[in-house]
Every structure is written in structure tokens, then in C-alpha cells.
Amino acid sequence: MALQSPRVTVESVDAAHFGTLAGLYQVRGVPRIVFNRRVHVEGAVPEGVFLDNLLAAASAGG
């Protein structure tokens, strides 16, 4: 989705290498996807669910 919209950026994080960062984001299981530090979802979710969470994060004010 980052490829499609200039408003979206994405960072894939190796939680094992960046353990401190993973701890800050309360990563207990992977994959864990966090949108604007506010909205999070665990697991590999379908595109529609991913989009819903992205839109929720955008609506929450970034």
C-alpha cells in the first residue's frame, strides 16, 4: 500500500535483531502489524482487514 499512496510508509522490522524496538511495540508474537503506533493487529491478515486497520489509524489522527 506504500507503493500506491504517498501518504503511506511501511517498515518491516526484524524483531529478533531489534529486540528493544519490538519490546516498545509490545511484540509477543509475529507478525504484528502496527499502524501509527495506535492500531495493531496480529497475524497475516487479508487485504481488506489490513486496509480497515490502516483507515482506522488514519482516522485516529496519525
Binding site: 507503493l3 518491516s12 486496509l51
Partner: protein
């Protein structure tokens, strides 16, 4: 010695079969790069580059990367002209995550979006910035 086996090479060729746009993989490494992890990643990416002419790789030291990535080692997907594709990797993908990395590069090289039309439409109407972090672990 090749990193990718014959089956992997065929899978890469299939993944990038419709590649139409150039993608530059900018790899930012620490100042003293000696990790075997980095060497393995570098070797695998170089084999992909040899298979897919539209994909190139450029390695930068952290000092010369100009803040391109927040964390090192890290990767940024760009166009060769410097256009930022807003896709980053913190760490060097390995194992299953290397497949995810290749999928991201293939998406960037694709002639058009692979998203569903309603997703494209929703993104066009996005009124605020969204930064997404995807945490995973190498397997």
C-alpha cells in the same frame, strides 16, 4: 557457490515475470560490516539482480546514507532516479522473510498495482499519513 538453488531461481523468474519498472535496493550497513548474515543477504540479492535486470542493488555505509533508513542494517526500496517508494526493512531479511522481501521488490517492479480496486480507491482518498511497522522474525 550459488545461494539460490535451481528451484529458487525458477521461482524468482516467475515472481518477476511481469516486471516492468526498475527497482533499486539500497542496503545501508554499519561501518564495520563483517557479519555472515550480511554476506549471505548480499550474495542472495546479487543472484536476484543477475536474474532480473530491472532490479539493482546499491550498498551504502551508514555515514553516507543521509538518514535514508532509521535503523541499520536497513534497506530502502527506491527507483534508480532516487524516487522513494516508502518501503523500508530494518534488518536484513533471511529465511522466509527473504521471500517476503522479494515479494515487495516484485510488487515495486510490477507494471501496475496488485491491490484490489476498492483498496486503491480508498488509498486515493487517504487524508492523513500512516506509518506501518510489520514485526517479524527470521525463520
Amino acid at each position: 557457490m550459488a545461494v539460490l538453488g535451481d528451484r529458487d531461481r525458477q521461482a524468482v523468474l516467475q515472481l518477476f515475470a511481469d516486471a516492468a519498472q526498475p527497482v533499486e535496493v539500497r542496503v545501508v550497513v554499519p561501518g564495520t560490516p563483517t557479519a555472515a548474515e550480511r554476506q549471505g543477504f548480499r550474495a542472495a540479492v546479487q543472484e536476484v539482480v543477475e536474474l532480473v535486470p530491472l532490479v539493482s542493488v546499491r550498498e551504502l555505509g551508514a555515514d553516507e546514507a543521509g538518514g535514508l533508513v532509521e535503523r541499520v542494517p536497513g534497506i530502502a526500496l527506491m527507483r534508480p532516479d532516487g524516487t522513494d517508494l516508502r518501503v523500508r526493512f530494518a534488518g536484513l531479511p533471511s529465511g522466509y522473510e527473504f521471500s517476503s522481501f522479494l515479494a515487495a521488490v516484485a510488487d515495486a517492479a510490477a507494471p501496475e498495482s496488485r491491490l484490489q480496486p476498492k483498496t486503491v480507491e480508498a488509498l486515493e482518498g487517504l487524508a492523513a499519513d500512516v506509518h506501518i511497522k510489520v514485526f517479524s522474525t527470521p525463520t
